[in-house]
């Protein structure tokens, strides 16, 4: 889940217009950019889609950390293609946000200024090759849980971006699981790395869904607007129920002594992650927050002359024929 704790904006619109808008959403209609929408809907979407886009872009970094160290040519190509997809997904999402009247550069600057967030998960380091497996298996797995229902979200451009993204992402989780399978069935050192990766990524993956929001006013509004499709707890439960049997198949141990199948609810009981840690990571105190933002800042600053230079050339070309006449 790449958008966490998105605060919905209060809206002060005409109640009649609001009711008509809600009726359209309830009827399953898509809202398109130039149509009337409550200010709160627009602002919440900008924040959510922007955060989602930022997560894709910052999410390139932990996996990109291993592109130069991938152990075979094929693994290198697969990983590069996957991380490239994330750049593409960020691009699609920024475009969806732009239809709401904010520019990509504005969103980028808000990210770099620390005014917009990205998913907490990308502030954890990738220390061994097994982490690349764990990121694909767990992090993409968690993201897909959230993104599949978002294909039905009420805002047209967001929905269409999610459809494209889900189609392209279908190989991402599989490649992660495939790496984990090789590692879990490999040498003693590989098995150790696989278990260690699961140990380190399990709770941060559970945090991706955000703290329980069953009583949250913000979530209720976002769910009514169909820009949030499930509660955080629903998605987290679904993720655990899906992932535990996969870990068992791999012969790995989920690092939770209290994990039990609960026949009554038809799902696993499991331990909550450390929410204090989660809030510290969001505040900027995760293991890699500083490095991640510094990398994005450097790319932005170092790239300025390229972006400007290409614009300058295009401007010259446009004016050239006129100057010649």
């Amino acid at each position: 889940m790449y958008a966490q704790m998105v605060k919905s904006e209060a809206t002060q619109d005409d109640p009649e217009a609001l009711a008509a808008f809600q009726a359209r959403i309830d009827a399953g209609e898509k809202i398109e950019p130039k149509e009337w929408m409550p200010e709160g809907y627009r602002k919440t979407l900008i924040r959510q889609i922007g955060q989602h886009a930022h997560s894709e872009i910052v999410g390139q970094l932990p996996e990109g950390n291993w592109i130069t160290r991938a152990p075979t040519l094929e693994r290198k190509a697969i990983l590069l293609a996957k991380v490239q997809d994330e750049a593409g997904h960020g691009l699609y999402l920024y475009c969806a946000a732009e239809t709401l009247g904010v520019s990509r550069d504005e969103l980028t600057e808000a990210l770099l200024a620390g005014k917009m967030k990205y998913s907490s998960i990308f502030n954890y380091p990738t220390l061994t090759w097994a982490d690349i497996g764990a990121v694909g298996w767990l992090v993409d797995g968690a993201a897909i849980m959230n993104q599949v229902p978002l294909q039905r979200t009420s805002f047209g451009p967001y929905s269409r971006a999610m459809i494209r993204i889900c189609k392209e992402e279908s190989f991402h989780q599989r490649q992660g699981f495939d790496i984990m399978r090789k590692m879990a069935n490999g040498t003693k050192a590989q098995r150790h790395m696989a278990q260690d990766a699961l140990n380190r990524f399990w709770y941060p993956s559970l945090m991706m869904f955000g703290p329980s929001d069953k009583d949250s006013v913000h979530s209720a509004q976002s769910m009514a607007w169909k820009i949030k499709m499930n509660t955080n707890d629903e998605l987290r439960q679904k993720f655990v129920d899906q992932t535990v049997p996969q870990a068992e198949y791999l012969g790995l141990t989920v690092p939770d002594p209290d994990l039990r199948w609960n026949a009554e609810k038809g799902g696993y009981d499991f331990s909550e992650p450390d929410w204090t840690e989660f809030f510290e990571v969001l505040k900027g105190n995760g293991p890699c927050n500083a490095e991640r933002l510094a990398a994005r800042q450097k790319a932005w600053d170092d790239g300025a002359w390229v972006r400007d230079g290409l614009m300058a050339h295009a401007a010259k070309q446009r004016s050239a024929p006129i100057a010649a006449e």
Binding site: E32, G88, S103, R160, M311, A314, Q317
Partner: protein, 94 residues
């Protein structure tokens, strides 16, 4: 810092014989670069045989507030659709 790269709308013909379809947008300083970016961004999975790029600013869109007058008049012209007419079974396909 100079201005942001303008936005372009990308249309791709997926297969020979089909219409170009809007697939998304991207940023580029001019049409040639928009074309190349479109190739790199939107045909990574062999999705197309032809690309159109259009400056987003060049698109004139129908106004949502005029949706009623614009589209509803066609709703009652049901005789434009073949299913309006009954054809006897013995005539077969028409």
């Amino acid at each position: 810092m100079s201005a942001e790269w303008p936005l372009w709308e990308i249309f791709i013909r997926g297969q020979h014989g089909l219409n170009h379809r809007h697939v998304g947008s991207l940023h580029a300083p001019d049409a040639e670069l928009a074309m190349r970016h479109a190739r790199d961004v939107y045909t990574r999975r062999n999705e197309g045989v032809s690309i159109w790029v259009v400056p987003s600013s060049a698109i004139t869109a129908s106004s949502p507030s005029e949706k009623g007058p614009m589209f509803e008049p066609s709703q009652d012209k049901v005789y434009r659709h073949p299913s309006f007419f009954d054809i006897p079974d013995e005539i077969g396909h028409m």
